[in-house]
């Protein structure tokens, strides 16, 4: 039994690399999109605010699995042809973006209005206000929940296995298909996911403590 699992380790490692790669792509892309849309939600004109609100509430209201199938199976019907890998990344990114939007809204919204007003009073432009006054303060509130949310991206990446992408989850299932050693392999997989996510949540907790000096 052990030799069979050891034999599969390089294959599982390849799957793990895909898991990390998907997670990284999703985290980076959703960070960019989420911050832009989040700023749009807080400061944008009314139509943009509504659009972002509807986007975020819709995406967060449906299961990530449904979103993924919708993107993957639905896109060819409207003339878009993406590889399953990029369809999965797109779906997971859409989902994560909606979360990042909410983190940004919460973080920026928690900065007292007086800060903005003071910045305006000394004649800073909108962009200067954001860069020098709002963002540095909001960043500390954004970071802990965001890092914590990275664990969701790693966990969510396991769903790409359903589109036939050989990530860690799929690699485990394939090795089980050959060896019938279901329990040891699932436990091994669980421990790998656990190690990554637990490290991330420890980092998040540490940051939170570090920034806990901030008071309203």
């Amino acid at each position: 039994m052990l030799s069979q699992i050891l034999y599969a380790v390089p294959f599982l490692a390849q799957g793990f690399a895909i898991t990390l790669w998907v997670s990284l792509l999703v985290v980076v892309l959703s960070l960019i999109a989420g911050v832009l849309l989040g700023v749009g939600l807080v400061y944008g004109p009314a139509p943009l605010r509504w659009a972002v609100r509807i986007f975020s509430d819709t995406i967060r209201g449906i299961p990530i699995l449904v979103l993924m199938f919708f993107v993957y199976y639905g896109m060819p019907a409207v003339g878009l042809h993406l590889q399953s890998f990029w369809a999965a990344v797109l779906a997971l990114t859409l989902f994560k973006t909606a979360q990042v939007v909410e983190y940004v809204r919460g973080a920026v919204g928690s900065i007292p209005k007086g800060q903005s007003e003071a910045a305006m009073a000394i004649g800073l432009t909108f962009r200067q206000r954001l860069t020098y006054v709002i963002f540095p303060q909001a960043f500390r509130r954004f970071l802990p929940p965001w890092i914590n949310g990275v664990t969701d991206a790693v966990k969510g990446s396991a769903l790409v296995s359903l589109l036939g992408i050989t990530d860690l989850m799929q690699a485990i299932n394939q090795v089980i298909g050959r060896t019938y050693e279901a329990m040891p392999l699932y436990i091994l997989g669980a421990l790998v996911y656990f190690a990554v996510n637990y490290a991330l949540s420890l980092a998040s907790r540490r940051l939170e403590r570090r920034f806990s000096f901030i008071r309203e």
């Binding site: 990530i64 199938f69 019907a77 966990k155 637990y198």
Partner: protein
Amino acid sequence: MGYALNFNLIWRHFDKLWGGLLLSLELAVISIAIGIVIGLVLAVWYVSAGRTVRAIIAAYVEFIRNVPLILLVYLVFYGLPTVIDIAYSAPTSFVLTLSVYSGAYLVEVFRSGLEAVPRGQLDAGKAIGLTPWQRLLHVRLPTMLRITLPALSNTFISLFKDTSIASVISVPELTYGAQWINFNTFRIVEVYLVTTAMYLVTGYALLFALRLVERRFRAAR
């Protein structure tokens, strides 16, 4: 290349979606009921227990929270029966998984809720001569439940969405119904539009209803 929407086939097979939605709700309700029991027992135990028990409960919570739900679903359905002599149907297996899963989240919710019960209430309970058991039952738990009600309804709604994972072990809930129609009729865009709408309407209806309940039972300030 145009794509003409045609919902006829969706309505013809709508029973798959409607029955699926009802099963999704059923799975979520049963799982949260069992999850609440797990969460309550462990949270009450946690706040009064020694270091070892706390470490074990914390390990359970951290393990579940840091592993993908889909892996837990596979582990319980395909893995567990290979090492212990049990047999269960896919829905039972999923309910078991989701209960243990939600239990881990609810331990945290209830534990922080118990800590948020004002000290003065417990002292008052002591002053009127309640036993520790009575203080727990009549003072601590009711107040804690009021405090945790919003978190509890959020957990329920997120569990309702998580039931879509049951489709991977062929439990015929809403997502499974959607996939069935997808593969059998190829009205792909239509079926996912309808399914999305069903999840959204149900989810927000639940949210609205639970907010009303929360307002009714809001903890006194």
